[in-house]
Amino acid sequence: TFPGVPKWRKTHLTYRIVDYTLDLPRDAVDSAIEKALNVWKEVTALTFSRTDEGEADIKISFAVRDHGDFSPFDGSGHVLAHAYPPGPGFYGDIHFDDDELWVEDKSGTNLFLVAAHELGHSLGLFHSADPRALMYPVYNRLTDLARFHLSQDDVDGIQFLYGPPPVSPDEPVAPTESVPSGPETPAACDPALSFDAISTLRGEILFFKDRYFWRRSHWSLEFEFHLIATFWPSLPSGLDAAYEVTSKDILFVFKGNQFWAIRGTEVQAGYPKSIHTLGFPATIGKIDAAVSDKEKKKTYFFVGNKYWRFDENNQSMEQGFPRLIADDFPGVEPEVDAAFQEFGFFYFFRGSLQFGFDPNAKMVTHTLKSNDWLYC
């Protein structure tokens, strides 16, 4: 919060769009502001109504350079906008720098993202030091707009000021459950934890989940937890599959019908590519998991209850596939979420369970919780 913890003493607030940028149609500006208001409305008891004239709690305007508040804008780039904490007069107001190119997508500065951030200030939130938070001060042009959500830090902050949203009398809530407080960071030792994708990378093992991954090294009993975007800003979240080709020092990651090749922190030029360039039929829209047999230079791709085998030497999908997973990997669940190879074993993950498969004995030799690798 701001120094002194200023907040609105009411839960219904008015807003007014005083003027518009010429970068966007008016209805696009209206829509971006409404969407940004909803971000905060969804997690609090706050409600908003629009007024088109006179005083409003939150007045929204576009301006350039000196605009009468002793905080001049600086032309294109750097400062995008600013806003004032709750209070009378200019307090609560939002000013956007109209020297920016305001857009609805990511081709310029996304108005919705900046508006949602500035509204946080208008409601009483100060900057957050959490890079995952909407209230982090630096604009993140890589934010996935389709999957945008507040961080737990944002939710905790705004609910500290205004409380959670009221529970509808029609909505059953188990007495022992707290009111949902928004999207949460996955917990390593959550007994229900499942993984999106798993791969080795340069001697470490990466466990991907939503926007995050755990990084486990052989040389340390500690494991690290990071945002995917911290290392690979252009990658999407919620990956489907990942595998490493150690001989090429490349990590391949998959999401939907696309895949990326990564060396270290560098996404390789020419990617993403379509998964169909690997030889999948056009009916396949995504893969569930992938694992590379490092010695045999074969990569296994799992889709539903079937799998394909790719020859890394020939760079082609092998004949005779797909085959049923159950036929060649007996004991493994009919479908898998993630897989990787380590210590000569294939490890297949499904939900909160993992199956250690010995390829020589062609059998599952041990079944453990998925997060056993995270010392849980």
Binding site: F2, H82, H121, H127, P137
Partner: protein, 84 residues
């Protein structure tokens, strides 16, 4: 000529740093001149504060990661203190 160019770039970086710290980290405006100081003066402390806040490696120095972060588009509201 190249040496002068390099010096100018460094001065420009330092001016930008000073302004950034004044705007967003509540650096007192009478702290100048600071760029030649190599001790743990208020500017170094402010750099450290900024690096910690922005999730950078805390070195107290104007390293490339810090400069890159400072040049990214951002909100004009200070990270520390209030509007100056």
């Amino acid at each position: 000529y190249p040496l002068n160019g390099a010096a100018r770039k460094e001065d420009s970086n330092m001016d930008f740093l000073q302004q950034y710290l004044e705007n967003y980290y509540n650096l007192a405006k009478d702290t100048k001149p600071f760029v030649r100081r190599r001790d743990g003066g208020p500017v170094v402390e402010k750099i450290r504060e900024m690096q910690k806040f922005l999730g950078l490696v805390v070195t107290g120095k104007l390293d490339s990661d810090t400069v890159e972060m400072m040049h990214k588009p951002r909100c004009g509201v200070p990270d520390v203190g209030d509007f100056t």
